[in-house]
């Protein structure tokens, strides 16, 4: 029983991390129908940005004070992620906004490879795993036999909290309404006085902030980072967004938790064990898409006039 509970806890934590990134995929898709494959790399770059902040910007005495160091790492990582995302949108995607859909998709893959190789070549020693600083709360909360690490707990709280804030913002604020309007019909939204460029940049920025938070937490939760992390986690996040229905905030978060849980539970109970846990994720994805092609919470695809 305690094994089951422990695996559920692990699954929820993995899901929380995937959710933070999946939100970025789903929001961008919702607005400009672009699968931004470089989004996983924004998450990776943020993680290195946080590490760089800690290594070079923080004075030695502050490094030992987690209450100061940790928030500053978040700030550093998020700033790097936002800058990368804004540049990416301006120079890689905006010129292709009215091009056939395939063009920005290929560009996204190109940006992804570029960012990975850039970090590999520019960041010192990035060719191998880098240890992440120990500024996160060590240890774990013990509930009977179940072990809940403090960093993992922080991850779940931040992930769910930020998703709720985002959902509320989009549903209730003026800018949120502009976003929904642009998603539904960019031309009409423009006629109503919405500036699509502003809305789109803001969408990229929101995605980058969430990816930035995820990047720092990933380092703390797993204790080290590497340049492949964006690709690996990005694939899961993309899958989560598709599973939940691309374009849906709630869908992305729920899809992410489903994937986290399938991964750990399949590793424990299915034949083949942890070696085949990825297989079950995609089996579930395929089954869902067969019966609900729009995903769990997605709307059926509209044909644009």
């Amino acid at each position: 029983m305690s094994v089951l509970l422990q695996q559920l806890v692990n699954g929820v934590m993995q899901g929380a991390l995937i959710a933070l990134i999946a939100l970025g995929y789903t929001m961008v898709y919702g607005i400009i129908q672009l699968i931004n494959f470089a989004h996983g790399e924004v998450f990776m770059v943020a993680s290195y940005g946080g590490l760089a902040t800690y290594t070079w910007l923080l004075p030695e005495d502050l490094k030992k004070v987690p209450y100061v160091a940790l928030p500053l790492m978040f700030v550093g990582g998020i700033i790097v992620a936002v800058i990368v995302a804004v540049i990416m949108e301006r120079f890689a995607y905006r010129p292709l906004r009215n091009a056939p859909r395939l063009a920005p998709l290929i560009t996204a893959l190109g940006v992804s490879v570029f960012l990975q190789e850039f970090v590999r070549n520019v960041y010192p020693n990035a060719t191998s795993n880098l240890p992440y600083p120990k500024v996160f709360p060590e240890g774990a909360l013990q509930l009977g036999d179940v072990n809940i690490s403090w960093t993992g707990l922080l991850l779940v709280l931040l992930s769910v909290g930020l998703a709720v804030v985002l959902q509320t913002y989009i549903n209730q604020s003026r800018m949120g309404r502009a976003m929904r309007a642009t998603a539904q019909d960019p031309d009409t939204a423009k006629l109503m006085g919405v500036d699509p460029d502003r809305v789109i940049v803001l969408t990229f920025i929101f995605g980058a902030v969430l990816a930035g938070v995820a990047g720092i937490l990933y380092g703390g939760y797993l204790s080290n980072i590497n340049i492949d992390m964006g690709f690996q986690t990005g694939i899961f996040a993309f899958t989560a967004a598709v599973l939940g229905g691309v374009g849906s905030i709630r869908g992305a978060v729920i899809g992410a938790f489903i994937i986290g849980l399938i991964k750990t539970l399949a590793g424990q109970y299915m034949p083949g064990g942890t070696q085949y846990d990825y297989v079950w994720i995609f089996v579930v994805l395929i089954l869902v898409l067969v019966f609900r092609p729009q995903g769990l919470f997605g709307e059926p695809e509209r044909v644009r006039a």
Partner: protein
Amino acid sequence: MRKHSVKSAAIVGAALLVLAACSSNKTEGGGNNGGSCDTSKGTLTVGVVAPLSGNLSALGIGIKQSAELAVDEANKKCTVKGYKLAVSAQDDEANPAKGAQAATKLSTDPTVVGVVGTLNSSVAQTVQPILKEKKIPQVSPANTNPTLTRGNDFLTAPKRAFENYFRVCTTDDLQGPYAANYLVEKAGKKKIAIITDGKTYGEGLAAELSKQVTKKGGQIVGSEKVGEKDTDFSGVIAKIKATNPEAVYYGGEYPVAGPLSKQMKDAGLNVPLMGGDGIFDGKFIELGGKEGDLATSVGAPTESLATAKAFVDAYKAKFGKEDYAAYGAFSYDAANALIGALAATLSSGDWSDSKRDEMLTNVGKYSGSGATGEVKFDQYGDSTNKVLTVYSVTSGKWKDVETGTFTG
């Protein structure tokens, strides 16, 4: 007539320029010119195939630089009469496909007399047959999988797998059981869980360890696999934690082993993690290896070996503080075995492709005292040096605990 001789002089001059360009290309990484030695017959190349970039580059660069050191010294001492030696180091990124490319590149170069490498047993599997085609001897400083020399039935029906393949380190059919004896008898850990990365090296090593653990009265309580690129091991850890192991044995390398050890501790599974020579590197501790974690590695600790002192001093003088890592001394010995065999081969005439058979025989017959002790090969190409050492993480550093050979 006069015009003609000017023309031929020009041609000779141009040819010399081309030659000079070629040889200056080849010396890349080869280092010093011998200076006073006679190098009139040209340049011969010692190839190196090792991971020079990527996660295992700490080990790979130690291998490359140690081979360069051996070649430099040979050039200074004029060990190979009439030729200058150079190193051509190829990056295999610890990836079998990349290793095959590197091997193909080296095998098409007629000046390559032998290859030092690889680090990974899985890469050796693709490199061996390519070099065999051209009869190029390969001496590995680090491959420990027994099938590479003795074939799939290495215990019951050993059969030489590749006549061009040799190694200067010992093998996992000794390393695994040696680790098992230490775990069960000295450390008193009876319940052991196994995790591997599913690659040639890790799988083979863990299988050999498991057999000996059971033989010594221990128990294998669980057996799991992780992906080489996995980063989150919470699922695997929760699964083996339920079996209450007293130690975890990991078959694989430090990029996974370090974080795995840290995540085990975070998940409340505070038992030692043990591994083979693949986790014996400072990076393991940097990436999360904890106090009390154990590793076996091939040979005696380089720092404490009297025979290795000259190597360590020369390496530090040439490369400064960069580490020669776990296999530096072995790589130095491997390169010297090739150089020694080459010198013997050339005593009966100049280098040509027809000399390759003789070269292979001479590597097999090579015997010398190297940094790691006596360097000699048995009929399968395995090293006769079977020494192993157990290390443990003590105050943030690997410290040797016990050195010996496996005796059953």
